[in-house]
């Protein structure tokens, strides 16, 4: 058993109630968030892939892949995520270049928006007969 695996298995067993274990903190990073995972150095970096499915739509996160550099990441993304004509444009972003909000900040980040109902058009009453609003 390699040293690396031993370590990671040890961590899996770590109690991590409340708050985040070191491992969780890192794993947070994934799914469009920062951080090369694990300590393995031999593998190529992780890239997050965003695809514009059709003209008029924005790029959407579709998944991730490994590639040694941006050129290959882009080509791998083409082969992996658009085999069935799923896209007209691709972005690849190094996972390590993404800064994400942390779970502890989640409420501070997002809850304040919850009471600002006036930002949504459904907040407003439209007088009967008023069209094109």
């Amino acid at each position: 058993m390699s040293e690396r695996t031993e370590r990671s298995e040890g961590r899996e067993g770590m109690p991590s109630r409340h708050g985040m274990s070191e491992r969780t903190e890192r794993s947070e990073g994934r799914e469009g968030m920062p951080g090369r995972l694990g300590m393995s150095s031999s593998s190529s970096p992780l890239w997050e892939v965003f695809v514009r499915a059709r003209r008029g739509l924005s790029h959407t996160h579709v998944g991730s892949l490994h590639a040694p550099d941006a050129e290959l990441a882009l080509r791998n993304a083409r082969d992996l995520y658009t085999r069935r004509q799923e896209g007209v444009s691709i972005w690849v972003v190094p996972a390590s270049a993404i800064t994400a909000s942390s779970p502890d900040e989640k409420d501070a980040f997002f809850d304040p928006a919850a009471d600002k109902v006036y930002r949504h058009p459904t907040f407003y009453e439209v007088p009967e007969g008023a069209a094109h609003l």
Partner: protein, 240 residues
């Protein structure tokens, strides 16, 4: 070369290239690369099917793509020797693909503008695919050439080993829908630029084996066909 022979030759190139690339399935250096090689194999196979179907129609003897692929012997195949060479390591495969694509891009582009509508349609479709193959192979030739000491040595060996087989591709044939000798300048320019960037040396031209277009192949082709055709030939007349 008649239109039939020419179509058959271009189609056989694509078919045998696809067969060799398909051998990489589940063996590529990275899983991502496995997918890329399969994509290129599928492109080549798609072009082969269109070309062999058309060749069968030109011949007018009722042979379809499968009759031509599965029921000819090696002496009847018209592909270049380059595509039938064994895959070797990943460097050899990339050298083969790079040289093939650097030839196919100008070939298909020229075909796209030729008078034969069917060949023009194949050319228009396949030149985009070949451009991608060329791009992919060039990326790897550069990475292997300018990567580690070992990869540089292996890539240079691969280029040296495969280089003699490129000359056959450009044998003059003024009667063909596209005279292959007219493609050489384009090919040389592509190759020089990429090899330079890859810190690789273009080999001197010396030994120049040929014969594929006349059905005189290397010893490898017969084995390749034995494997490819075994099942089809074991059940004469069956549908699949």
């Amino acid at each position: 070369m008649s239109r039939f022979d020419f179509t058959l030759a271009v189609g056989d190139d694509a078919l045998i290239a696809a067969q060799r690339l398909g051998e990489w399935t589940s063996r590529a250096p990275e899983m991502e690369e496995d997918i890329a090689l399969a994509n290129i194999a599928l492109d080549q196979l798609g072009a082969a099917r269109l070309l062999l179907t058309y060749a069968g129609e030109l011949e007018g003897a009722g042979r379809d793509e499968d009759d031509l692929a599965y029921l000819r012997d090696d002496r009847e195949f018209r592909n270049c020797l380059l595509v039938e060479l064994p895959n070797g390591d990943f460097g050899v495969t990339m050298a083969k693909l790079f040289f093939l694509a650097a030839y196919q891009v100008p070939l298909y582009s020229a075909l796209a503008g030729c008078a034969d509508e069917r060949l023009a349609a194949v050319g228009a479709k396949a030149r985009k695919e070949s451009a991608y193959h060329l791009d992919h192979a060039a990326l790897w030739v550069k990475r292997l050439g300018d990567g580690t000491e070992e990869s540089h040595r292996r890539m240079q060996d691969a280029v040296d080993q495969v280089w003699p087989y490129v000359h056959e591709l450009f044998a003059p044939d003024p009667a063909a829908p596209v005279d292959p000798s007219t493609l050489r300048a384009d090919f040389d320019a592509t190759v020089s630029a990429v090899l330079d960037e890859a810190t690789l040396t273009r080999p001197e031209t010396g030994w120049a084996p040929g014969g594929g277009r006349d059905g005189l192949h290397t010893e490898h082709l017969s084995y390749l066909l034995a494997e490819m055709q075994v099942l089809h030939r074991a059940h004469p007349g069956a549908s699949w």
